[in-house]
Symmetry: C2
Subunit: 332 residues, 2 copies
């Protein structure tokens, strides 16, 4: 008689994650697949993003923050597409160093976000790796049929709007990479912690997904740097854009850094990891959109206009074009 009641390592991992999988279609993580019943007349919106230890996070980052970042970079894509969240699949490639304690903290962090974003774990896979921890998430949302907000819908005359503040995460990453920068930038502990935290834990703007869906002509999340991502949106739309750099929304901490170190402005514009929403909309919709976002606790700032032609012109305080050494983070 074959007895399978002894708990294997895999069973222990599944038990850790089962509380996150309350959706009936997750089958308590006890089946080989999940099932979702799509709402009537809706499209399913699908996205996948992975983060790798030593590349997208520090291997000594708190496991709960790693878990939340892995989920949030995906939720950010769904927010920018105007999708309501439905759930996600989680694939963990775990090194030997990911012991029970690491995994339990990872699951606790993830559980907090599953609840905060009402986005259930539907299933996934756990495998061993001789490399660093690699967390792959595929996340799903729904939109009324045909209403997913594309990259390619921007039209000349549209307002260019961005949520939150730009550059914090890129500056926070520099603070973690180069200790001497902390001294040069002369930040107080609060500002330092704010920037570092913005790198550690993105704040996806799912609270305004329905407003994006209602108002935006084009949208994407800012993950590889605002300058380059806006250029991608313009390329996809066959338009150009003009942006006033002075209108770029900056946190108080980022302002302090840029005042001390003029190079930091370019880092902020091109560094990436913002996970804010960049969108365009008919100019007469911008005020209502900003008000609706504000009511949901999200700042939205009009930073420029879509133009005929192609290319993004960044203009400084004197209206002079700004030239950047590079426009965005490249993965390769």
């Amino acid at each position: 008689v074959t007895n399978t009641r002894t708990q294997s390592g895999e069973d222990r991992i599944i038990a850790l994650f089962r509380p996150l999988a309350q959706h009936p279609g997750a089958f308590g993580l006890m089946d080989d697949a999940a099932a979702l019943q799509p709402p009537e007349d809706c499209d399913l919106v699908l996205t996948a993003d992975a983060i790798v230890g030593g590349v997208h996070f520090f291997t000594d980052d708190p496991p709960g923050a790693v878990a939340r970042k892995a989920l949030r970079v995906n939720l950010s894509d769904l927010a920018a597409k105007g999708a309501d969240l439905a759930g996600f699949l989680l694939t963990l490639a775990l090194p030997g160093t990911a012991d029970d304690e690491w995994l339990a903290a990872f699951a606790r962090g993830l559980a907090a976000d599953v609840e905060a974003f009402a986005c259930p774990l539907l299933g996934g896979d756990t495998v061993k790796t001789p490399g660093p921890a690699t967390i792959s998430v595929a996340a799903f949302g729904f939109v009324p049929r045909g209403t997913m907000v594309r990259r390619g819908g921007a039209r000349a005359g549209d307002a260019v709007v961005v949520t939150g503040t730009i550059g914090d995460a890129a500056l926070g990453l520099r603070l973690r990479q180069k200790l001497e920068i902390t001294a040069r930038w002369g930040l107080d502990a609060g500002a330092h912690a704010f920037l570092v935290d913005r790198y550690l834990l993105p704040q996806p703007r799912n609270a305004i997904a329905s407003a994006v869906r209602r108002d935006a002509s084009a949208a994407m999340d800012v993950s590889d740097g605002l300058a380059g991502d806006l250029a991608k949106l313009c390329d996809a739309s066959g338009v150009g854009a003009e942006v006033a750099v002075e209108r770029m929304p900056l946190s108080e901490a980022a302002r302090q850094v840029i005042a001390r170190d003029p190079n930091a402005r370019e880092i902020a514009l091109t560094g990436g990891d913002d996970y804010e929403i960049l969108c365009t909309m008919a100019a007469d919709k911008a005020a209502a959109f900003r008000a609706m976002a504000s009511a949901a606790g999200v700042q939205a700032t009009e930073i420029g206009r879509i133009t005929e032609g192609e290319g993004v012109r960044l203009l400084d305080e004197q209206g002079r074009p700004l030239t950047l050494a590079r426009t965005s983070y490249s993965h390769f």
Copy 2:
């Protein structure tokens, strides 16, 4: 003016995979998410599985075979759940050794399967890793509402049916791991190549997904060894099973090995990587199911019966219970 027309490494990778993404909802891999229009009155079936270099494949395996294995282990889950294929997301974590040539061969292999299984690439992500190549796939299918075949539906008296032949991949893996085994097992080149190929390239049984959906009371794919996977199915269903080991479908090559090396029978029963469908069904449905599978080019074999109680009894040629050292492959 920001010029993004220069092709980055990421753009080159996307260009390689764009031919695989002909589904209109993949948006030519040019957006941040994909969109699928669910058929009316259908459930979406979702699964995710990853394979890691040095763990699930050899790092010098042909890249095209690696790609196909990564997809096929997922398609196998969808076949066992009775789902019609809709598409997949691909997340690649690539080491520096995955150069343009490796990637092009990977994409060519994947393209062959995208066509063979009519399962389009919908989107994904590509990241760098200091570790081995890690390929995460999330795959999707549809079933008429409420008809996904679960693990937990087996009832006492049901026939236990398995597709294809069992143990080939596990024996093929041993041949690759231990050169001296090749001599001991004394296989001719054809039999050797057959077993090695069965490890390299699973043959998921999606051709009979609709038959599984129509007839099976419970099903799962055999990935961690038949003995252990049947025990999991029985546990989920609250039943037991009795299986005649002599009825286990074996390839000619596996028969040759077992004749030479009696230990090989246990490897075949517990080794995993079969990616066959294990299912149960009312006994009077088994003949029609086997005929329908055969018409689709898939062998299906009745190997035993579901019983009251719990646990899987494996019986040898004399009807004596067989005891295994371990019942299945454990990932941890």
